[in-house]
């Protein structure tokens, strides 16, 4: 689908210099002395590198029509995360560098959506929230009663999250995986 670059949105996929990129950020910007621009940060889904680019806002850009496929996250190794399509049992690998920091919160066996284009996996669609159990936490330091005080805890995937001091080991919490923030107890 062709759109004006001025209507590009975060999360969409485009071809940039012949390679598929995902829009990480897109901000309208008019310098007043040249064409109105769309300042975009594009992540190359092969090299995992971000590139800053400025489109003219009226430039036509091809936004890729991607499918999002329900898959199960099965395991990871040093480089990749592996997913399985539960209907076809086909496995797909995605580089950790492409998926990014968010993969710290993936638990084996969880269902997730993977974006596909021409039957090739691109990246995952970030879940709104993940639920994980706390496996390690210090007791709050004595006397630390300041409201809103936080402490670091480790969740079952090994990631560290800042939580309010009253949250304890064994509890399950919800986390916004994109920001890594604690959003509540479950």
């Amino acid at each position: 689908m062709r759109v004006n670059a001025g209507n590009l949105k975060k999360g969409e996929f485009v071809f940039f210099q012949g390679e598929i990129c995902q829009v990480q950020k897109a901000d309208f910007y008019s310098p007043g002395k040249g064409a109105a621009l769309m300042k975009a940060r594009l992540k190359n889904l092969i090299s995992a590198k971000n590139v800053e680019y400025a489109y003219k806002s009226n430039e036509q850009v091809e936004v890729l029509d991607v499918a999002s496929v329900d898959m199960q996250y099965i395991y990871k190794d040093q480089e990749n995360l592996y997913f399985m399509d539960e209907r076809t049992f086909n496995q797909s690998a995605l580089p950790i560098s492409v998926v990014g920091e968010i993969s710290r919160f993936f638990k084996e066996g969880e269902k997730m959506f993977v974006y596909m284009f021409d039957d090739k996996p691109l990246t995952i669609r970030p879940p709104m929230s993940v639920r994980l159990k706390i496996i390690e936490a210090d007791d709050a330091a004595k006397g630390d009663t300041v409201s809103g005080a936080k402490k670091p805890v480790t969740v079952e995937t090994g990631a560290t999250v800042m939580v309010p001091i009253f949250v304890k080991v064994g509890e399950t919490i919800s986390i916004n995986p994109e920001t890594g923030e604690y959003t509540g107890r479950v």
Binding site: G6, F16, Q17, D27, F28, Y29, S30, P31, G32, K33, G34, A35, A36, L37, K39, E52, Y53, A54, Y55, K56, E59
Partner: protein, 335 residues
């Protein structure tokens, strides 16, 4: 539009008021006359990159097109011609076809001021003093953080780059490539810019926005970017090198906050630029507004040697309130 059930952004708005007060204080102390101006005008300067808002005055059979001013310049320059002397305007300006984003609002606040007898580089010192004054007056513990290293921003000096230096350092463009349109376009193509139906001016803006601007004003000091190519001169005087204009812009945390230029007082040159801009507006199918011919006449009458500065006031406040978008400064908005 939604109703308001809770006052939001009050702390940021209070900083907005403090910055406003500091600006008025600075201007008064330095003998700039505060002027209030109409925001509706029957004619405008043709500018091919700014779309405008059009409205109509009606009285029985009489109908007159009026336009919301995208900048206070047409009125301020008339006053300068008439001998008002150093003056400033802090008020609303309107630009159509610019969606509300973190850095844009179609209705925004502009600080524009003129000082007689100085050029653009001398104005840079004046603007620095203004920033210092604001920084001294605004009380906000979290204000004015620099992007890199998160240290507090300092306003005791500029970090200065000519456009030539900045393009060489941040975009790898040599001087001979920057000022030669053919070579520049070729270079842009090699970098992956889409050059179809795109001329030098647009590619310059695109490369500036993508590769240069993110590096400006991020090291703890505001950055002055000076001597823009003559193609981007707008209403600025040209330099003797024949390549650049006496125009600069300043950046804080990668964002352009304002700009200034030695004002063009050659009415013939101004008239030429008017015709060119009006032609481009027509080609781009923009609103066909009445052209302010009186503006050229005023310049013919005689604009004194001066430099004018324009600052996006909300962007300025964003620096001192450490906010990321214009919207965070507003108690109420139409968004």
């Amino acid at each position: 539009m939604k109703i308001v059930t809770q006052i939001k952004n009050l702390e940021n708005y209070k900083i907005y008021l403090q910055v406003e007060k500091a600006v008025h204080g600075f201007m008064e102390k330095n003998n700039y006359l505060k002027v209030d101006l109409p925001v509706l005008s029957p004619a405008l300067i043709p500018e091919s990159y700014l779309e405008i808002f059009e409205t109509e005055f009606n009285y029985f059979d009489k109908k007159e097109k009026l336009y919301l001013t995208p900048s206070p310049e047409i009125f301020l320059k008339r006053l300068l011609v008439a001998g008002v002397g150093n003056c400033y305007y802090l008020g609303r300006a309107y630009r159509n076809s610019e969606p509300n984003s973190d850095w844009h609002s179609s209705e925004f606040t502009m600080l524009e001021f003129y000082k007689l007898g100085i050029n653009y580089l001398e104005m840079a010192e004046e603007v620095l003093k203004l920033l210092q004054e604001i920084s001294n007056k605004v009380k906000n513990p979290s204000f004015a953080k620099a992007t890199e290293g998160k240290q507090k921003l300092k306003f005791d000096r500029w970090e200065k780059y000519s456009v030539t230096e900045a393009f060489e350092k941040f975009a790898g463009i040599k001087k001979e490539e920057l000022f030669n349109e053919k070579l520049f376009i070729k270079k842009a193509k090699n970098k992956g810019f889409n050059i179809d139906n795109t001329g030098y001016e647009d590619l310059f803006s695109q490369m500036l926005a993508a590769e240069v601007e993110p590096k400006l004003g991020v090291s703890g000091y505001p950055t002055l970017l000076y001597d823009l190519p003559k193609q981007m001169a707008s209403l600025a005087k040209l330099n003797d090198d024949g390549l650049t204009a006496q125009r600069c812009e300043f950046y804080i945390n990668g964002l352009e906050v304002g700009g200034f230029c030695t004002e063009l007082n050659d009415y013939k040159e101004q008239q030429k630029r008017f015709i060119l801009e009006a032609k481009k507006r027509k080609q781009n199918k923009m609103i066909d507004h009445t052209i302010d011919k009186g503006f050229v006449k005023a310049l013919k009458y005689g604009l004194p040697f001066c430099t004018g500065a324009g600052i996006g006031f909300e962007r300025l406040v964003m620096i001192f309130s450490n906010t990321k978008s214009i919207d965070e400064l507003k108690l109420i908005s139409i968004k």
